[in-house]
Symmetry: D2
Subunit: 436 residues, 4 copies
């Protein structure tokens, strides 16, 4: 009988053994108990758990309440050492191992889900935008050198997103925006227009995959070639693009074709963690090291723990399943929206996007458009984007886009019910507004 107990226990512990041997995302999902067990073992290796230690540093991961052990999963020392995130922290052997595993798994995860040609990844306890700032700061020219101070421009194919612009502003660089143009329903930034903007002041270029329609993803392959040719730092904003094999393929081709220094993706939007983390991947190990040395201090371990929790609790198979559901839901969303659109003499915007679908709202007047947003909020539909270009151009990524529209996403983790109910309520809201 004891053998049976041992056998069941080994069965429970086995995945942990495999994890340390293979340093890769498990095929099968772990259950919560197994994940907690791993975290518990690791966090109990940190010196703040050592009841025989005498602590005379100014910072020793002392805590005011045991509740802190929950929010930090026991990793009270955070991660990093003196402004070098991936450097092992002698006071936190367990936390250091945690971080190393998380980074290994993040790399493995991205390799398996579309980017086999990256070499290193790092999980950051800051969002996508701040990660872009960190990346630019790490890779910018040495502006302490007066000969390089003019080299401060970052080229951006128009992206109407505040966070990205703030990132550039934060590191003291200048954004040079290449305006979006309208192609049918879609907004794109032609590679020729981008080329025309490259000059001697440029040191970097940004491109992106996932965004709201009508803006489509950039032609990353061509931008990548351009970056190589002009020796520009090239950062891909892949905010919630990991969920889509199509977007990932675009990046993969970009890496092969030219120069991509870093690909940045959110942990919450791709890996279903609480908000607050990002993964930066690169074909170059040295680049990741530089970025890791740019964070000015130690950081919270929670977002790193969250990323690890998600990778273990999903496993490769769990994520594949989520991707399949996402794909199906995206189709359902388009079908259902098409029907509603037809009913009101609207139509689906023809824009490539594996996550979102947009529908014209051309039959609604200005005040009806804002009424629609309010109505959906009251009907508890969260996340739809009603956009009225006559009200605010920012958001369409083009100065000349005239058609008002609504965007809905069938993002990873959403349920079929989310999609179905949201479209029904949209129908209802549109109907009510028209009747008034």
């Amino acid at each position: 009988m004891l053998n049976r107990g041992q056998l069941v226990l080994n069965n429970f512990l086995h995945p942990i053994k495999v994890l340390f041997e293979q340093k890769s995302v498990p095929l099968k999902p772990w259950n919560d108990d197994q994940i907690e067990f791993l975290l518990q073992i690791l966090s109990n290796m940190d010196t703040d758990k050592d009841d025989k230690a005498a602590r005379v540093g100014e910072r020793e991961a002392r805590i005011a309440s045991n509740l802190h052990l929950k929010t930090s999963a026991g990793f009270c020392h955070g991660i990093g050492r003196s402004g070098f995130l991936t450097a092992p922290q002698p006071k936190a052997p367990g936390g250091s191992i945690l971080y190393e595993i998380a980074n290994y798994l993040a790399r493995d995860f991205l390799k398996k889900f579309g980017l086999p040609n990256i070499n290193k990844a790092i999980v950051l306890p800051i969002c996508t935008g701040m990660s872009l700032a960190l990346t630019l700061a790490a890779l910018k020219p040495d502006w302490n050198n007066d000969d390089l101070i003019h080299k401060r421009t970052v080229i951006i194919p128009q992206i109407d997103h505040n966070s990205i612009l703030k990132s550039i502003e934060m590191v003291g660089a200048r954004a040079k925006i290449v305006k979006g143009k309208i192609f049918g329903d879609a907004v794109r930034i032609p590679i020729e227009d981008i080329k025309k903007n490259v000059d001697d002041t440029c040191f970097a270029i940004i491109s992106l995959t996932s965004f709201f329609p009508p803006r489509e993803n950039d032609d990353i392959k061509e931008i990548s070639k351009l970056a190589k040719e002009h020796e520009l730092v090239h950062v891909v904003i892949n905010a919630y693009g990991v969920q889509s094999p199509e977007w990932m393929k675009i990046i993969r081709s970009g890496i092969d074709a030219g120069r991509i220094d870093a690909v940045i993706q959110s942990t919450d939007k791709n890996l279903l963690t609480p908000v607050g983390g990002a993964i930066i991947a690169s074909p170059y190990k040295e680049t990741i090291k530089k970025i890791s040395q740019t964070y000015a201090g130690r950081a919270s371990a929670s977002p790193v723990v969250n990323c690890l929790i998600s990778m273990l609790s999903l496993g490769i198979e769990g994520y594949q399943e989520l991707e399949e559901i996402q794909k199906k839901n995206r189709n359902i969303l388009e079908q259902k929206l098409s029907k509603v659109a037809l009913k009101y003499n609207e139509r689906i915007l023809e824009v490539f996007n594996p996550v979102a679908v947009a529908v014209t709202l051309k039959n609604l007047k200005k005040e009806q458009l804002s009424a629609l947003g309010g109505a959906l909020y009251n009907l508890r539909v969260t996340g739809p984007r009603v956009h009225d270009p006559s009200d605010k151009a920012f958001g369409t990524c083009s100065a000349n886009y005239n058609t008002p529209y609504i965007v809905m996403n069938a993002a990873i983790g959403a349920t079929k019910e989310d999609i179905t109910v949201a479209v029904e309520r949209f129908d209802k809201a549109y109907h009510q507004i028209m009747k008034k």
Copy 2:
């Protein structure tokens, strides 16, 4: 009997009512159940908990595992909205209230513990160094304007700390370091030397309170006057200075005497949270708003939750008690170290520091010094700093400091036993090394 139940329950809930009415740090500590109850109520106001919602955003705080609810205390939406940290997030009414309360309490806490002359504070989910970067980024000149591009220098009275230098580097500014000079045992940076370095390229100056001996705190009052006179942004690094009424008084006088834009302090070192958060306080509301608009995205709620947990679980009285113990421990540390020093013909460095005590190690040779560090590590003394200037000048804040020394801290949250045992082990280690 039901009345009794109601009475006991009200007694339990009462502090929560008071918190919302007064928006100030409670006098008495809350127990963990009360804190969890508050967090639970608030996090259940966020829309990701709404089982009647239909979610069609790309980001909806979906989570892969319930373990995420622990590490985020249920605040899966994080904090902030589109690069504006303190803006209410419609998807997260509870998280927005949480953040507002945390910020109110942080302000109240700092006001009550030494800085009555601040007007606003913000809890940031990034460390002190990154908070400095954010502050400088928010307050720097508009470098998109070519007329201001030369104005990029930050003056620093020599601080041999990587994170601070990395912060300046990160935002694309230049550090101009005013060298430290030796006064007896102490290292100080004379105000005259600082004044000499101010020129037209400067836009900011940094000063600091808490640091390792032999570096003493800066003359913040005079720097503050200078900043006012030359219209320099003045940021005080008060890393772990909140615990000391003396350091806080120095900042208070600085605010009254001239210009201080922001005071930055760590949450973990001052408030006993896990590593990863900071509080920025300012006499100017507008300054805090600007900083809050500089973070390029949404951020993890965990460090904010941790700060709130600490303030509630300590209360005003709890923190006062911790301060008193810290003061006593600092005295004990000095007394005990004095005795050991005497024994080995060493002596206490005469440097003002309300937390740390340094002892000369002049009778140890180069290799003995590094042996001492190793011996203390093996004896499980964490956090002592053995410094050998002949090995590395960086750390003393002066090129000419010759005496090797060891620093130990009696920081807030440390126990008398920590202090006593650490000194005993130091004695033992010194003895062994001398005997070899």
Copy 3:
């Protein structure tokens, strides 16, 4: 936005309000957070949470570790008062309410799942067997009265189950077993045989529903009539019978037709709680009161909390769904076992049982039978019952049963995979044993 927060929060709290108004099992399942919230509110009404109380009793729910709050869900005072389980405990208003709700819900649950003709139910923190002991102790004649001392016999249609026999032994009564007879494959106890055994020494009779084949359920209706006629206490052991509408119907008819004093069912086997609780239901309120006054002290709240957790987390709809799955699984089990039986020239025993299926093992020899049990254990099939009457008659409920057999259950909560895999492994094990 605050309204939205309030709305989401109300949505979260609404089921709790409904629970207190209706005191019935919710239609829809609650989520774990809602259940924990209810338990937290209630447990915080108990006086051990009152930090203004001065406690000078010998028993005040003081605890050595906060871990106790988990295992007791905060109800450290347990349930009951001085040997009266359902009496409100002044020190534990919250615990008293908890117990009242649990009992209301248990009654409602049984009424909705087959016993509309009961009037009262009580959740006991002891198992089915001990609950039978308690029931018999409560309803037995007054043996302090010498005129009644001969009235000590309990009639039992043969049930080869130790716990039941121990219950009778425990209360100082005598079991008079009416032997089982074979009818085709089934073992039954004819009502005529039972009648013959009733004499003046009898005060009670026991009947049962759920048991292992070949023993079928008793003819409860007839026993009930007999009990009424002879003024016998009649207790129905319905161990895991709640899951089956057919068994419940048999009891329902019994209540209507004659006398049933108490129906006893396990919480773990019917309601998927951890082992250790039972529900006793009765058409007579007074009977439940008597039983509740027989438990000699206060009791652990945990099994009561568990019963409540299960009822809330399943809800009416959740349990209905479980029942449907159970029914399907029972069919699958029979189909799959039939095929395997055919292969080895064995056959399904023709015995009425809505949960279990038995297959003959007539082609296996004595040592092969015991090898089969071992093989299944090693193949990690838990819960099958290989029975060899030549080895031990006890278990078949008849002295003359000759066919060896194996029993498998498709019980509530089991998955289709459990069933499928178990039958596959049985096939494999049988095959291997035959080959040797």
Copy 4:
């Protein structure tokens, strides 16, 4: 650095290793994380955690909600096997080990705190009263044998406690109460009176230690001799007596001098667990085995887990410290009550009791006595016992006790503040009532 991690981890795990080697209560307290770790390891050995198992039993520890894992500490299979509590349960290897350890530790605990002459102990998931029932049921004569049926009397030196009387009633025995007599302030039952009551119908005798004044503990040594002489089962009710070395000494002498079959003590009152468990100890291994075979089924693991949690979280040193505080508090209680008594012309009852102190209330009238109880309840004093013999004799253990009194306890786990505040409020309440 990894070595350091290993070292800290080993330091954390070391006590678990020692526990399994020595099977004794640890000298030093464990922290909660260590206890949870042990419980987690053990509960993950149970087969309900085996994701490769196929479950076809009717009872497989399936659970409806993960909350059940908390309340059962993961031991969903409970304890025991077919009415034999200490028999290993093949489905629950971990739970079986848990129970074995708990029983070993309970024995060790009692041996170290006063009863070195016991040989075996068992932790029961039922209260003291039910444990007495179980013990009497296990040790009673075979009443199925008509020659023994007259042997049904249990002698009790008068104990006015419902639970004990109910226990005897439950097992079908008869209580023969030997009346208490008054000696000064105390109520005692003279051994001569007891002897006179022994006759041929008696099979057992009960004695007790801890009770409310004015009833003193029994002369257990003499009763023990009597039991030996007359071959009576002798059970000692030591409800909350473990905390007092004096009471434990009395039992110890009893075991040495004659016959004591079982000593029963509450886990909550002695070991600060939630209500619901008891420990039965015996000098005879066989007796414990018999009792363990009398529980008619499997039982909840929670009270067993609680007992283990308390023993580990206190350790030998922790309990010694609690005992010292208890002793001091008992003195403080007496001193403070003396002063108040003097003020109102009342006096301390001269009754031996190491936990409780009683004060006369002779100057209060009938209605004032009941007002006093109400006033103390409203002043949030829990646990005092105001007794008015003219109202109800039951409770004084003597028909002739005339003085009204109040009892307060300085029980283990109570704080000095409890005592001080309770006496102050008593003073206040007495004062108010006199004034009216």
